[in-house]
């Protein structure tokens, strides 16, 4: 199940790196959120322009095409840090201690290897469209107002690069947890039971509710 999870912190190098990377991840996620907000404003302008002054926003669809990768990729590492990517926890939820950390370690190691190949593949996708010699360095462009596509294509390898750093940190953190046998290791999302998850969700929603009162 998806959900928020707690990430513990202390004064160690690992935890400092975790928080340092988190700062970058939050900025990137915020870029993603602002892109959603920007698309909303753009649509309002587009509808308003078309109906009120009979002048649609030029290249509306092109801008959406360029903004979608921002929304889709920029938050991927932030979500991984918080354990927000969905999974089936019926089995892993039963494990505890070193057995659990070993299972998690295998999982993030496999993900790290996969992400390495994805960086390679998405970089190749970007490289095919980028050309120092071409106008706007671009070999391909959007259909209406001819925006270059390479900046959008570059976002995938960048986001996967940050994700690879996050996964590497988690490999370290889980390995450390296996060695020390810690019950609640730092720098990794700690699994929550269904009941805890529910309480967390409720707490979050209630907090929102209190604030708006």
């Amino acid at each position: 199940m998806a959900g928020n999870a707690a990430v513990l912190e202390d004064g160690s190098t690992l935890s400092r790196l975790d928080r340092g990377l988190e700062k970058i991840e939050i900025r990137l996620a915020l870029v993603s959120g602002l892109a959603v907000f920007g698309l909303m404003l753009l649509a309002v302008l587009s509808v308003g322009g078309r109906n009120l002054i009979n002048k649609p926003v030029p290249g509306y669809v092109d801008w959406i095409e360029l903004a979608m990768p921002l929304i889709a990729f920029m938050g991927v590492s932030y979500t991984q840090r918080l354990g927000g990517h969905i999974r089936m926890d019926i089995l892993i939820g039963k494990l505890k201690g070193r057995l659990l950390w070993t299972a998690e370690l295998i999982s993030v190691l496999v993900m790290l290897i996969l992400v390495f190949f994805l960086i390679w593949g998405s970089w190749a996708h970007f490289a095919r469209s980028f050309d120092w010699a071409a106008p706007l360095w671009s070999r391909d462009s959007t259909i209406d107002i001819r925006l270059p596509l390479w900046p959008a294509k570059l976002l995938a390898p960048i986001a996967f690069g940050v994700l690879a750093c996050r996964l590497a940190l988690q490999v370290w953190a889980y390995s450390r947890a296996i060695v020390t046998g810690a019950q609640n290791p730092i720098a990794v999302p700690l699994p929550l039971s269904a009941a805890e998850l529910a309480a967390e969700e409720a707490r979050h929603v209630s907090a929102l509710d209190e604030e708006t009162r």
């Binding site: 199940m1 998806a2 996620a29 915020l30 993603s32 959120g33 602002l34 959603v36 698309l39 909303m40 404003l41 649509a43 309002v44 587009s46 509808v47 078309r50 669809v61 959406i64 095409e65 979608m68 990768p69 929304i71 889709a72 990729f73 920029m74 991927v76 932030y78 979500t79 991984q80 927000g84 990517h85 969905i86 999974r87 089936m88 019926i90 089995l91 892993i92 939820g93 999982s107 496999v110 993900m111 996969l114 190949f117 998405s122 190749a124 996708h125 959008a152 269904a194 009941a195 998850l197 529910a198 309480a199 969700e201 409720a202 929603v205 209630s206 929102l208 509710d209 604030e211 708006t212």
Partner: protein, 466 residues
């Protein structure tokens, strides 16, 4: 080795990884990537000198999918709907809706519970997420119902069940995802969710009224609101009506003529109105930032699973697994309806253990072509089809059925998440209490699904007009 064998082995491996708790998005991408490499190398006759070549082709095939597949205008609806949901909290819409529903529907037997269902149905319009909807209403509706002497389990059951309305009533993120995966018209699917969603709400209301009439202690009615009070409660809830109305008008114009725009624009306009309302209610940058970060997180989760699964789908195409499965399903010596019911039952079981979005994305690439084949093919006419509807209509009908099924699983023991959420919010309720309270709604939902199966026009008449 035949491609289809590779398809079966890799898909088995994927299920194993998912079961062992790997993040679904990455397990699917991994299966797709490994499968592609295997299939290409298989074509090269497992020549060791050509392994790097197979790997490179596979890396490049897989590597272009994330960017290529997310740059889709229709997909921009998903983050917009998510943003509407988060902004709605700050716009104070939940309380406004509950107050309005109470004043307008309270006169019925079990009035407060009926009001809860209507308020939840309304809130569903701005929230694509069932679990969050249940959490919100557990906090505002259950205390009021208990104060009026409502049966505690009954009150909890109403809230848990009503939360499931969120994913059918537009805007529904899960229906957009379904439309993208099966390559059908997003607008028609959103439109199609409206009537079954309202229908489910009416079934719940009838059940509540019936129960309150048989056992008056379950829920007294509330009376005494003047017309002035009734109308005064409407303006704060206005953005909800605006959002639903605008989305519908941007897909289909009931007065004839062209729709006013695209669903994407409709969603964005709805979000903008809710945003203005939230600003008016005192939302400032810290709260907006929080909403944007939550939107980013949920969007990243959904998009990651979309491109991850699409890498796997690319591999499935090479392995020809979906067409083999479709041939097998449509060749079965039993009525197509029975097969369809069995498929839906399989979803009910799967949904007990898995998140709805993950479940649909993982299974649809194989199951959807099979259901289409069962009906007679993607392009079949209504007259020649097995279920009496054309291919595109069957796609819509099946989409609504599986989404309703996935929602049904949210109130099914042993891990119906909505019930856990309600119990989590209320200290005085155990999970068992909520499951017991929700039981009548469980049967009501089963009946609803049966009706949607038997009378597909409930789902199809609205989209067939558009």
């Amino acid at each position: 080795m035949e491609a289809i064998d590779i398809g079966l082995i890799v898909s088995g491996g994927l299920l194993l990884f998912v079961f062992l708790g790997m993040r679904v998005a990455f397990a699917a991408a991994l299966a797709g990537f490994v499968g592609l490499t295997w299939i290409f190398w298989n074509k090269f006759g497992y020549d060791p000198s050509k392994f790097m070549k197979a790997l490179t082709i596979s890396v490049k095939t897989a590597g272009q999918i994330p960017h290529a597949k997310v740059s889709n205008q229709a997909l921009s609806l998903i983050p917009t709907f998510i943003l509407i949901g988060y902004l709605a909290y700050y716009a104070g819409l939940t309380k406004a809706l509950f107050e309005a529903a109470k004043r307008w529907a309270g006169w019925m037997p079990g009035g407060m519970a009926v009001a809860t269902v209507f308020a939840t149905a309304g809130f569903s319009a701005v929230s694509g997420a069932s679990v969050a909807t249940s959490a919100v209403f557990a906090r505002i509706a259950i205390p009021e119902m208990q104060a009026m002497g409502y049966n505690k389990r009954f009150a909890a059951g109403v809230v848990a069940a009503a939360g499931t309305l969120a994913s059918l009533i537009p805007p529904s993120a899960i229906l957009v995802i379904y439309a993208i995966i099966v390559e059908q018209d997003v607008g028609k699917l959103l439109l199609a969710g409206f009537v079954p969603g309202a229908f489910s709400a009416i079934v719940y209301v009838s059940l509540i009224v019936g129960m309150a009439m048989i056992w008056p202690s379950y829920g007294p009615k509330i009376t005494g609101y003047s017309w002035r009070e009734k109308f005064a409660s409407l303006p704060p809830a206005f953005p909800i009506f605006f959002v639903v109305g605008i989305i519908i008008f941007f897909i289909y114009n009931p007065f004839g003529g062209d729709p006013w725009g695209t669903p994407t624009e409709g969603g964005a306009l709805g979000a903008f109105v809710v945003f203005l309302m939230a600003m008016f209610k005192g939302m400032r940058w810290p709260q907006l930032k929080d909403a944007l970060l939550e939107t980013a997180k949920l969007s990243a989760m959904i998009f990651t699973i979309i491109w991850g699964v699409l890498i796997y789908v690319r591999f499935l195409g090479f392995a020809q697994l979906p067409s083999a499965f479709a041939d097998w399903i449509s060749g079965l010596e039993q009525s197509p309806m029975l097969t369809l019911v069995l498929i839906l039952l399989a979803y009910a079981v799967l949904g007990m253990f898995m998140d709805a979005i993950g479940m649909l994305l993982l299974t649809l690439p194989v199951v959807y072509p099979a259901v289409m084949a069962l009906n007679g093919g993607e392009m079949v006419s209504a007259a020649e089809s097995a279920f009496g509807m054309s291919g595109p209509m069957c796609a819509i009908w099946f989409g609504i059925l599986v989404v309703k099924m996935a929602e049904f699983c949210l109130i099914t023991p042993p891990i119906g998440l909505n019930c856990f959420v309600v119990a989590g919010v209320r200290d005085d309720l155990t999970v068992q209490d909520v499951f017991r309270g929700v039981m009548p709604f469980f049967f009501a939902d089963a009946a609803t699904i049966g009706l949607l199966l038997a009378f597909p026009w409930i789902v199809l008449w609205l989209p067939s007009l558009a």
